[in-house]
Point group: C2
Chain length 418, copies 2
């Protein structure tokens, strides 16, 4: 008898009929002899509806109160799923974040899980209950309600799987696995049976949006077996989606490029003409980090005459706040100016094989040049190469790169996979 954590997203929980489907799927696994902990998101659209009400009152509402409001969406979902499970004759009990409890730090709207106390859940599992837990939320040391940020229900699922030492964490979503890129943009996009954690991390963080980045980090850290499946297949379907593997364990032959990620959630900010001296990066990014704004790409150009330009990207929602902060410290750091652009997109090639194959980056730049797409920023890591382009070129860039690297065709190695 194995212990499975399943997580269902907002679309899977989008209506009473969809919730009934989720209940039937849970029932199937219980009948097969598994013990289940189910993590759910708010019904699709609900979080936006709630935050929209808050925005009507104040465009920049207090983060503590926004978390109080937003966390209700998942609370409704856990109650509804339990009622649907009871209607099938099953035993089920719901848990909010504070009831588990899921302890987090106090960073409202982007809290991190510090600890999960599992005693309550274990007691209910032992008593034969399906345990239904509200995703996306927790409680800080002072008893304040916190949320983990958008997509945080995935993190809740993985963290619970780690805490409970579950055999598998299944993330049900509206896609049936991880693709080489978004099929809505490239119809030839191909589903991967397996993908490594590192590739997944890049694909998720860069906009594939299948899994929330923190959940993948968590899964890697705690060695949680993670699987992405569709909640829109037949309840009895044996399709097993995409398994996220530990490269070290699987040791399989690998395609050079696994996929292409992209997003237009970012904005770039450039601090012009700062003195090129030790500590300047900290002087610029310190105040941004103190304001709890995450920075993604960071680029510093070579200096000329002791001056340099410093660029970085932040989430588009934080763009104005970050610009205000930099305007505030501009004098202090002796910068000539601060400019920003929130009409950009990031496109990234991702592949574990890049480590051992040279020339991938230049092949990428050549392909974009042939299409007349100007590259504004470049950033590379061991397994990815990212470029920032004008957002109007994003879809074109993804399509031509998908073709350039033949991602629509299964590599020979694919046949060797299980």
């Amino acid at each position: 008898m194995s212990l499975i954590v399943q997580k269902y997203g907002g679309t899977s929980m989008g209506s009473p009929e969809r919730i009934r489907e989720v209940a039937r799927r849970v029932q199937r696994f219980v009948k097969e002899g598994h013990r289940l902990v189910v993590v759910v998101s708010a019904m699709s659209g609900e979080t936006n509806r709630l935050l929209g009400l808050a925005k009507e009152l104040n465009p920049e509402g207090d983060p503590r109160e926004l978390d109080v409001i937003a966390s209700t969406g998942e609370q409704v979902s856990i109650g509804l799923l339990c009622i649907a499970l009871h209607a099938l004759g099953m035993k089920a009990r719901s848990y909010t974040g504070f009831q588990v409890p899921i302890r987090t730090d106090a960073a409202y709207s982007k809290a991190r899980i510090l600890a999960i106390e599992e005693a309550n859940i274990r007691r209910d599992l032992d008593a034969g209950h399906v345990v239904v837990v509200a995703g996306f939320q927790g409680i800080d040391e002072a008893g304040n309600i916190t949320t983990l940020g958008r997509g945080g229900s995935d993190t809740t699922g993985v963290a619970l799987a780690a805490a409970l030492k579950a055999d598998e964490c299944q993330i049900y979503t509206d896609v049936d696995g991880v693709y080489t890129t978004d099929p809505r943009i490239v119809p030839e996009a191909r589903r991967l049976d397996t993908v490594t954690f590192e590739e997944m991390l890049e694909l998720a963080s860069l906009g594939s949006k299948v899994l929330q980045i923190r959940s993948v980090e968590f899964a890697g850290k705690y060695q949680v077996k993670l699987r992405v499946l569709s909640s829109f297949t037949d309840v009895n379907s044996t399709d097993m989606g995409t398994l996220i593997t530990f490269e070290e364990e699987e040791n399989m032959e690998q395609a050079i490029i696994s996929g292409i990620a992209f997003n237009r959630d970012e904005a770039k900010i450039t601090v012009l003409g700062v003195p090129d001296r030790p500590g300047i990066a900290y002087a610029i990014l310190g105040p941004v980090a103190d304001a709890n704004i995450d920075v993604d790409m960071i680029i510093q150009n070579a200096s000329t005459e002791g001056m340099t330009d410093f660029s970085f990207t932040v989430h588009r929602n934080e763009f104005k706040r970050a610009m205000r902060i930099l305007e505030g410290v501009k004098g202090e750091i002796k910068a000539k100016g601060v400019v920003g652009d929130d009409r950009i997109a990031k496109v990234s090639l991702v592949g574990i094989g890049m480590r051992t194959h040279a020339g991938i980056a230049s092949q990428m730049f050549g392909c974009l040049a042939r299409e007349g797409i100007n590259i504004q920023m470049i950033s590379t890591s061991e397994i990815k190469t990212s470029v920032v382009v004008d957002e109007k070129y994003m879809e074109l860039a993804v399509r031509v790169l998908h073709k350039e690297f033949a991602l629509d065709k299964a590599p020979d190695e694919e046949k060797m996979r299980p």
Copy 2:
């Protein structure tokens, strides 16, 4: 500097614009030098929407999970009001039931408050915050979320006022006070400047719906000064609504009849032909009470040949469940049968003066007889006389009684009131 607890109902919190109005009213009182604790209900329609979703999944959902779902409405309201207060430059912090905490028993959907821990609220008040508390909810000993039942936000308000020893508890609603009866049914209905607790208790419990019954009991028990006001008057209005007084303190002249209450929320159940023996009432009502069904009127007719009929009323929502319970115990108690009717209405004359004035009941029955309205059950107490009639006669009965007892005219004594 006085401490005021204000409670705003669902209509007062019905939209972002209405919430802004509430914030402005709170601000006015703070500017006048008061310290404020504000209790809020869910936005109007929200609780029904949430419970409607649950009903789609199962018409009789598990009470624990229904409370998990229903309590989110107030949680959204506290966050929104805080954000509206912040937008006015005020300091405000929200509290859910578990955060106060408001400790209740474990009777889901109709929990009773056992204790309120005030330390957290006091600390925030001392720090200059307006404290905004979710009405209608609490937490039981095991950490489960409970709700106090419909209208329970009034109870939260009064209980907080009692715990904090507030100077006054102001209940804001969509009416501007307590009337002799519902003005929608009798346009001549008159607002009372003051009403005694006992009268209020009867008027509220019998369907005047201005205040929830338990809140009035609470206020009486803890001597909380309670005032009903409209949230639809101008923010700076000096209209002070209706003050609910302790008869003992005020010692004022009083009209014989204060008002007419009515409701059609009840159903009557009659157990036919039971042996008239000691313990029979307990044998009938014990199982009903065990199922947490509240019984209102109870009437036992004089016995003939050692047999008697036993009638009582329950809330219409509990009618089917109560009927099922009685069908189950019918054999055990040797009853000839059980019959019920959920198309009834209760109409009650209420007045502290009844204690010292004879003949009120017979004047009431005579008035109804002249209109051809048949009386099905009668129940009396010191300050009220209630009759059960076919629900189709309810409005007619209220109108003719209002006229019969000249409630549209202020009594002479009214002039002596402050």
